[in-house]
């Protein structure tokens, strides 16, 4: 009589322990996408800066080009006194 009671009382205890363990694992598995989302969010914020590239393009006008065009630009200014 005592043995089945003991085993019955023992079984749910082990089941509960197992249950606790599996719940924890499930929670960890459920948290994985969230962690992943956080990681990808970090990646996106790193890839974001596009504005400096535009400024670089503007700066990319080289001194050589400016020097080459200077004489022609001066003539253009002189021949259009109404708009300069």
């Amino acid at each position: 009589m005592r043995n089945p009671e003991l085993t019955r009382s023992a079984n749910p205890a082990t089941n509960r322990r197992m249950g606790h363990g599996s719940n924890f694992r499930h929670r960890a598995l459920l948290a994985l996408p969230l962690m992943g989302a956080l990681a990808t969010a970090g990646c996106i914020s790193v890839n974001a800066p596009d504005k400096p590239i535009v400024i670089e393009l503007n700066i990319n006008i080289k001194q050589e080009v400016v020097y080459r065009l200077a004489q022609d630009a001066n003539a253009t200014i002189e021949s259009n006194p109404d708009i300069f």
């Binding site: 503007n58 400016v66 020097y67 080459r68 065009l69 022609d72 200014i77 708009i83």
Partner: protein, 142 residues
Amino acid sequence: MDGVTLRTETMTKVSMRQSLATLAVVGLTLGTLTAPAAAQNRDPAYSAARAAGQVGEKMDGYLGYVTPAAPALRAVVEDINIKRKAVYADKAQANKATVEEYALTSGCLLIAQTKPGEKYQAPDGSWQTRGNGPPLRDSRCP
């Protein structure tokens, strides 16, 4: 023989007079043609705003507002900037350059040509009043 030489002399005198007259006419027409071209230098509203420091030369080759402009002045300035862009685009294509390159080069020269008291944009973007010395310009300016 004498009669012939006399005739040729009178002929040359007449032709000289005619040529002088034509030269004078050409000179007069040239004068009348160039005079209006020189007279239509700038819109009076634009030159007044420029002298008052309301409008200044930007680094990019266009005019900018130093102080908030009235709609009438704004219309004049925008019209000038549109005309400038058209000229820049035309000349840039002829010189195998981009409009921005040609405009920036013009901006360099236009800032250099500002008179003392006029406004121009410094490389840091701030508005400066042209003094007697050289203006603050982009390092690429000739």
